[in-house]
Symmetry: C2
Subunit: 79 residues, 2 copies
Amino acid sequence: MKAIVTVMLKPGVLDPQGRAIGHALETLGFEGVGDVRAGKIIELELAETDAAKAKASAEAMAAKLLANTVIESYRVEVV
Amino acid sequence: MKAIVTVMLKPGVLDPQGRAIGHALETLGFEGVGDVRAGKIIELELAETDAAKAKASAEAMAAKLLANTVIESYRVEVV
């Protein structure tokens, strides 16, 4: 199964990468761009065939390695 | 409207970050992890209220700045 883990900075945590992207878009002439947040997406190919187990496994990976849960939140989707 | 741009390396392009994540997961004891691909996700708050126009605008931003279309592919979702 394929698990997709999306990791974003928690609301309220300063996102300098997002800010930089926002400024760059403005410089390029794009208008009406408000808040920009940048995050990571990790696609994992898992041998597990049970969707619930695959999701639990990917959630454990996210909590342990992929996300820094102090400042980041994550969500896991199994496809 | 909110546009979510997901940028991934194209299939076949070596993904060292994904490889490193895969090895780290293995070292941590996670089993059955196959291919791992790492990408970026950018959430844009747009002033545009028309969904089609917002999507077109976000696609232009992705093509011009957010993705390197030589090695990366992107998809845009408007929510």
